[in-house]
């Protein structure tokens, strides 16, 4: 018996890049924070294989000599969550509150530390993040260091207005704290010179309030206090949803608000009640009506703003009437932004290293390897096609990587273990993440206020994208990038050069990006796809391309990237289908694309149409093998099973649950559009009852949804040849890639996969 060392503090250097994919000849920048060590080492490595257990080839990377190699001074930078709008007010019109009339509607969602219950699909009962919402700013310029400026805030849940008289803080506060999930209008009137400051708090009857007006017991309140008029102005910018605080010569968020704020305006009473600003959070300045980072001021002063750290727009505001679901059709009803104190979209660390990717650099998966105190931290990036394009492209599901980025559910959710059917297994990286909650959440989690996380970003350290990372739910198997590095290594072993492309690349360039490849291979879990990506892949196979879908739960949920900030992915959740949480009514429209949230199968783009199979179940105890079916002996499929015996079980081995079939799985489901000529080659062996039929297949509750009773709970391997000469081969299982390297690639999963690859690279049309 040995006492394990405390490892949670062992990681001291962290980084992220300004882009996930880069072409030879282009530039990628690295942003680093170093906690403690005065220096760190950096180099560029090519990643070949991730899983570092003895049951596989091991962790394989090669150092690529570049001018990055070296020792760098380490500086510490804060990664400060908290979303807000910062107003561009160069003339300081909002600095001096003399004679102000301020209006703001608020819908607080965590005014006090009293969140209760179990939230979301995984029954999250406790946040890893300690409550820090004693001070929450609605808007203001308050500078806590100099005690100057002004702010409208919630102090321990009580609406409060604070101002400075000669550097001394003054406050006026209503007597009753606000109720969570109810709309209020706050109005502040300040005197022009000496006089009375008033603050009124008026509940707004609203269809989206948690409790009906007849039962809410809420009443208007007004308080007053005398002011001398000796306003002490701060040097801080006006922010909505947080205040500004100085940190390492940068202004970060402080006193971040949890909840919605809307209908914000400021007038100057002394000038005939002239507008200083009237911000409209539902109004877009874009022709397409999308609500991105820019915030419009409709007053003549043009005090426009910009969102930071990814607050949620396209949410219902104080005048919402309960009918319209699309923010673009009724902007006035969506005049609100939902802020969270744990939002983080860009850590905004300075550039530490800039790397010019050599023009002759081979396409593949690379990383900046940072080392401090003997511990490595990898910052992966993908180098795309070079001057010599290969005939095979590997599409890395970076949208999925971001959706799961920095997932910490094992530490917060009551039902995680029940979902898995085993105790989660965590690793040093998980403890590092617990000690760095400021690196933000995944789209599977809920915010501190209980609302679902709908944005993710790669401009923050991504602990779960470490190449050796093992997700807590996988019983020591691979997931995400490490699982896809199993494909990378299989291709290298098979002697197949490939071009690395990412979800963001395909979304940006569409079909043109893949038009000249003969084969596109997916990652193990291409769950989050945009419409452009799906259209591109459909066109690809329709024009003769061959698609190898080597995963499960693919092409599943609506995803969008911010056209102005492509490091941001948006994934809202509808009110149906398998989902970790659910966006409220009328807040299910993606602001970065206009897409309605939810599963693609419910929007006319079921994955079955593209790859023949769609999601059937998920389970995380043991995986299983496949058994061959009658179609596997069809002459058209003979090439797939060359070297495989007629009675062989396929994949009764592997590092993911001990089998090739499992984790998240798909089945042949012709009613959702599987091409009619598709051959069903193999189906999974027995699965346990922790494998449950997906919610989208279930219209009413029925007993017997587990793998031992429900015939649809299975993974099917299918092959489809299209009239174009193109086609698809789909394995419908996340676990498949975990079996490739078994026995040094001498196994029937590697054989089948390699057979398919060889034939798919052959220009002869598929039959």
């Amino acid at each position: 018996m040995n006492a394990p060392a405390d490892v949670s503090g062992s990681q001291t250097v962290f980084g992220y890049t300004n882009r996930l994919s880069v072409l030879p000849g282009e530039e990628v920048s690295l942003h680093v924070s170093c906690e403690g060590p005065v220096t760190y080492q950096a180099c560029v490595v090519q990643l070949h294989h991730g899983f570092d257990g003895s049951a596989g080839p091991g962790f394989l990377e090669t150092v690529v000599p570049t001018r990055v190699d070296g020792v760098y001074p380490g500086y510490t930078y804060r990664c400060q969550p908290g979303s807000y709008v910062e107003i561009d007010d160069p003339s300081g019109l909002t600095s001096n509150p003399d004679g102000f009339l301020i209006r703001a509607a608020i819908f607080p969602t965590l005014p006090r530390n009293d969140r209760s219950g179990t939230l979301g699909a995984y029954r999250i009962s406790q946040s890893s993040v300690a409550f820090q919402g004693q001070h929450q700013s609605v808007l203001g310029t308050w500078d806590s260091a100099t005690k100057t400026g002004w702010a409208l805030t919630l102090e321990d849940g009580y609406p409060t207005f604070m101002w400075s008289e000669g550097g001394e803080p003054r406050t006026v506060r209503v007597a009753t704290g606000v109720t969570s999930h109810h709309w209020y209008e706050l109005v502040v009137e300040t005197p022009a010179g000496r006089g009375s400051v008033s603050l009124t708090c008026t509940p707004i009857p609203h269809g989206m309030n948690r409790v009906a007006p007849a039962a809410d017991g809420l009443h208007p309140e007004e308080v007053r206090a005398e002011a001398t008029g000796a306003w002490a102005v701060s040097a801080m910018p006006l922010r909505i949803g947080a205040l500004a605080a100085l940190s390492e010569e940068r202004l970060v968020a402080s006193a971040a608000f949890n909840g919605k704020i809307g209908g914000v305006s400021i007038r100057r009473q002394a000038e005939g009640s002239a507008w200083i600003a009237r911000w409209h959070f539902g109004r877009s300045g874009r022709a397409d009506g999308l609500l991105l980072s820019s915030v419009l001021d409709e007053s003549p002063n043009g005090l426009h703003g910009r969102c930071y750290n990814g607050p949620v727009r396209g949410v219902t505001g104080p005048t919402f009437q309960g009918v319209v679901e699309d923010f673009r059709t009724a902007p006035d009803q969506f005049d609100a932004i939902h802020f969270h104190d744990d939002d983080i979209e860009d850590a905004r660390w300075p550039i530490a290293i800039t790397f010019d990717v050599p023009v002759d650099m081979q396409s593949g998966v690379y990383a900046f390897r940072l080392t401090a105190d003997g511990v490595d931290h990898h910052v992966p990036f993908f180098v795309g096609k070079g001057s010599r394009r290969n005939d095979v492209a590997l599409l890395f599901p970076t949208g999925t990587y971001l959706a799961y980025a920095n997932d910490r559910i094992a530490f917060e959710a009551d039902s995680m273990e029940m979902l898995l059917g085993h105790t989660p297994i965590v690793h040093a990286e998980d403890l590092v993440l617990q000690d760095h909650l400021e690196f933000g959440r995944s789209c599977y989690e809920i915010h501190n206020d209980g609302s679902g996380v709908v944005f993710s970003s790669f401009k923050r350290p991504l602990i779960t994208m470490q190449p050796r990372y093992r997700a807590s739910f996988m019983s020591e198997g691979t997931w995400g990038l490490p699982a896809d590095l199993s494909i990378t290594h299989w291709l290298e072993t098979a002697g197949c050069d490939f071009d690395a492309i990412t979800d963001q690349d395909l979304d940006r360039e569409g079909f043109e990006l893949i038009s000249n490849y003969r084969v596109v291979i997916t990652g193990s879990h291409p769950e989050y796809m945009t419409r452009t990506e799906l259209d591109a892949l459909e066109e690809f196979t329709a024009r003769g391309g061959r698609l190898m879908y080597l995963g499960g739960n693919g092409f599943y949920a609506t995803t969008s990237y911010d056209p102005d900030s492509p490091h941001v992915v948006e994934i809202r959740r509808a009110d149906g289908g398998t989902r970790p949480h659910q966006s409220p009514f009328a807040e299910r429209r993606h602001v970065t694309s206009g897409e309605s949230a939810g599963l693609w199968r419910n929007k006319g783009k079921a994955p079955e149409r593209l790859v023949g199979v769609g999601m059937s179940a998920q389970g995380f105890d043991r995986c299983t093998y496949y058994e061959r079916l009658e179609d596997s002996f069809d002459a058209r499929a003979a090439f797939i099973f060359e070297g495989v015996g007629p009675d062989e079980r396929l994949g009764d081995f592997g590092i993911i649950g001990g089998g090739a079939a499992g984790s998240e799985i798909d089945f042949y489901n012709p009613v959702l559009g599987t091409p009619p000529g598709t051959l069903v080659l193999a189906t999974s062996g027995p699965l346990s009852d922790t494998y449950l039929l997906v919610a989208e297949e279930l219209y009413e509750q029925l007993p017997g949804l587990g793998g031992t009773e429900q015939p649809s709970v299975r993974s099917d391997v299918v092959y489809g040849a299209l009239d174009s000469g193109g086609g698809f081969f789909s394995v419908g299982s996340i676990a498949w890639t975990g079996s490739l390297a078994y026995n040094a690639y001498e196994n029937n999963i590697a054989r089948v996969t390699t057979n398919v690859l060889r034939r798919f690279r052959d220009p002869e049309p598929l039959k």
Binding site: Q126, I425, L431
Partner: protein
Amino acid sequence: MTRTATDRAAELLATFARRSAARMQSEFTERVVELHDVDPLRVMDDGANRVLRILRSQPISGKHLIYCMGPDGPWSLARVTHGAPGNLVILPETFDDYEDAMRAVFRARRAHFLESLAHTGTEDHSSHRNEGS
């Protein structure tokens, strides 16, 4: 003292937990222990799985996780402890096989279950909270 919605929800949950605990008394048998010991990742018996689901669904605070110390283990039991480094307290005993660690988690829960029976004559849901059963 004014009762709140939280108090009422807690009463309802406790009522359910009391019934669940009564069922556990009859269903948490040696056979469940045997089935879990044979293969903690593949228990196919309905009754045993109901017991396991109850054990596995308890609140996260204080609950067991398994901590992996290297590429091939060893593995330790650990408990979710907010405020501790990594929000986790790692226990000293190590296991060369993570399935043995899973068995150890189960044994700890079994021991707690029997202990609570001895103390109260019935299982108390609230006593599970920090045991994380």
